[in-house]
Symmetry: C2
Subunit: 151 residues, 2 copies
DNA sequence: CCGACTATCTATAAGGG
DNA sequence: TCCCTTATAGATAGTCG
């Protein structure tokens, strides 16, 4: 479609390549839109130029279209998803981990500044209770070992 | 381009809509391929027909293209990613959290079964050390409070 | 580098088997 | 329903300003 026929191979001349890119890209987008309207299709079109610039068209919403695509391809092992869910989970895990770590540090006797006397008393009680449990356990375990060893 | 001009609106007749869909889809894919080759562009095209069937074309690899697209759109608040990375992070966090939780439980005097006498002794030492720290801290804090209250 | 022009090529609407 | 044909609308390569 033009003054002369062309063969489909990469256009060497950069200037005319860019001109052609601009013209044909416009045409492609137009055709995509027409097809979407005429045939009630859902279409997503993503183009990166050779210079890395992004052009896109979506008859609806690119994000939801990509999600739909991912789901449709799931059985074909495509591992693309809306990260929002996983990201939320990761953020929540990070938070939980942080909280537990803070707590754990206190039980290790670290970072006690900022605790009230009441907090410290609670912590002491907990540690004493744990200690009692551990000593009891140790004693019974040692007895068992001892009985084995002494027989 | 055909025997008659058409207006761009949804084709009512289902049969001719499907015929047009088939023809124009083929044409669109052809144009997309040509553009990719002629201008060295990276192109991804996703089409869902009105019946929900998926058609796709990618000049390279759809997955990597979608990832690239996601990254390019990051600043524009698009929340689509290859989940693999985030998933890995989440899995790692889950593991770390689990380990810390186990450790923490032992310091709470829970789930002590399975620990050797030596393990229990170490735990006891740690708890005693923590306890000393906490008591020391509590005493000095109580003194400070006390001095405030008693003045 | 961009837009306009237009001759020419391509896609396709309508029709037929 | 699908494939083929063909007249015609539409896209665009080369050119000019």
């Amino acid at each position: 479609m033009g003054r002369g026929k062309i063969v489909i191979k990469k256009i060497d001349n950069m200037t005319s390549r860019q001109v052609t890119f601009s013209k044909r890209r416009t045409g492609l987008f137009k055709k995509a839109k027409e097809l979407a309207i005429l045939c009630d299709a859902e279409i997503g079109l993503i183009i990166f130029s050779d210079t890395g610039r992004l052009y896109e068209f979506s008859s609806s919403n690119m994000k939801s279209l990509i999600e739909k695509y991912s789901k449709a391809k799931e059985e074909n092992h495509l591992i693309v998803f809306a990260a929002s869910d996983v990201k939320k989970e990761a953020a929540s895990l990070r938070q939980q981990f942080h909280n537990l770590q803070q707590n754990h540090r206190k039980m290790m006797g670290e970072e006690l500044s900022g605790l009230s006397v009441a907090d410290l008393q609670n912590l002491q009680n907990q540690l004493e209770s744990s200690l009692r449990g551990v000593i009891m356990r140790k004693t019974s375990a040692a007895l068992k070992d001892g009985s084995k060893l002494c027989l």
